[in-house]
Symmetry: C2
Subunit: 295 residues, 2 copies
């Protein structure tokens, strides 16, 4: 089978054998924002044509390709949900007469009843089920909107989202803080830790943000350190708010620089982390594929 993680800005695909092993992979900067309405079949053909010509007939696609702005909208499936439930809610799309499906996202309600959605992360979470211990686990998927999911025995019970990544992006580029923040500077872990420590103090995030400006004015925060400080400050606020009482381990799924930052932010609260290697989405797609009804 073929698994595709088709996101907002990137496209990744894997060709898998019958044991879920990855035989081949493709990655391209062809996120859904680069695809015109009606253009999804042609783009998919252009990116994985050789696999199709080689006889692959099952294609599972997760991510924003299943959103309103994507190929077709696959409605959110309410939690709790497991791989079988997702497989049962796959949305077939027309693609060269093959068995091609969009994986739906998940929805939930937070404890106060406010809606929650994810699209793409549910598949990564399924991909790491084999690594989770029995009982309840907390899985964190960093990103522009990070997702904190409670998983038990193969089922996503609930989850919540934090707006941290996007908040960092706009604060560091479109506010007065940008004037004294060198976005090209390398990670400064001491400054990151200062930001984490600041998040544990009273005053609230909106007060703490202004401190970036004043600490710069008073020579206490360099432009090179400001980005790391802001990152630590925001992640510190996020983990303090999002971590459920009594949770001592978090499974981090994803890749890139954010993994180490979240691990450090969680460690500062005494929480252990397990980082799950890349291509969790591929494993999740394969798991959903196992639940597909035979034709």
């Amino acid at each position: 089978m073929i698994g595709v993680d088709w996101g907002t800005s990137s496209f990744r695909a894997w060709r898998m054998d019958n044991q879920g092993g990855i035989k081949d992979r493709v990655a391209a900067p062809r996120g859904i924002l680069t695809v015109e309405a009606g253009g999804f079949p042609a783009v998919l053909r252009s990116l994985i044509g050789p696999w199709l010509d080689d006889g692959e007939n099952i294609i599972l696609i997760c991510g924003m390709a299943g959103s309103r702005q994507g190929w077709q909208e696959a409605p959110y499936l309410p939690c709790p949900a497991d791989a079988a439930a997702l497989a049962g809610a796959l949305l077939p799309v027309e693609f060269e007469g093959r068995r091609c499906f969009l994986v739906p996202g998940l929805s939930a309600r937070d404890p106060q009843g406010v809606p929650e959605v994810m699209r793409g992360e549910e598949t990564k979470i399924l991909g790491l089920l084999d690594r989770l211990p029995p009982g309840r686990s907390l899985v964190l998927s960093p990103g522009s909107h990070s997702k904190w999911a409670l998983v038990q025995d193969g089922t996503v019970l609930s989850f919540l989202t934090q707006f941290t990544g996007e908040a960092y992006a706009v604060l560091s580029t479109h506010t007065i803080l940008a004037r004294t923040l060198d976005a090209t500077a390398p990670q400064d872990w001491a400054a990151f830790d200062d930001g984490l420590a600041r998040a544990r103090q009273p005053g609230g995030l909106l007060h703490h943000l202004f401190g970036l400006r004043t600490r710069n004015l008073f020579g206490e925060l360099t432009e090179a350190a400001a980005g790391s400080y802001l990152s630590g400050l925001l992640l510190g606020h996020e983990v303090a708010s999002a971590l459920p009482e009594g949770m001592t381990r978090v499974f981090l799924v994803g890749d890139g620089a954010m993994m180490a930052r979240y691990a450090r932010a969680l460690a500062s609260l005494g929480v252990a982390t397990t980082e799950v290697p890349e291509e969790a989405a591929a494993a999740g797609l394969w798991r959903i594929g196992q639940s597909l009804p035979a034709l």
Copy 2:
């Protein structure tokens, strides 16, 4: 004497009699961002020339004109500070041989030692001293960066800043939340109250922000209501963080739509507010002028 509040984006001046009564006023969109280096004397002459020709010889200027980007930098005066201390720290600037001074801003440290600054608000605060009861009062000046100042017996003891106004501006225009927020919609107090109530729930501001998107997706928040909801959410977080324990009244100084919003946010916590009418800056400048040494 002449008092001037010369801010980033606007210029306001008052001609006052010997009792501080306002005889005449000028307002112009000539904030310091519109003035070239070295151009401040000429712009001031162009805006208040008739008063000068009429013999006014004392000009006090507060606000960003005293910043590094302004006419000349008037260094921050550390708190605690009163009108006499500000008068003693006035920075004389050359202007047609007249007695022309820049009012310095104030600096402070928050309880954790992080620096604080204000420039312009200190003068408004001085302008409402006559309205404050004996003992300690809390004065709130809304704005892009709102200032919460503790004042006692004419002295600004300390203050802290909240980044709320600027956070609202970037979140409502430069994030995914902007797509489902009609910035031209009128104030919706029910949505504002919903945002205030949300701020009192667990989860943290970064989680609550994502709820704007999901509540829209689920048909629970219209685009017309989203701006008011976001405003209530941010102000709710601000007042919960900034309000000192046991404070039952806040004096609001300023003008514009934010005054009513802060009053409502504070009322939701059982805190009474007193709104101080406009032109507090004029009264503050006059008070500082009273402390000027005679020539």
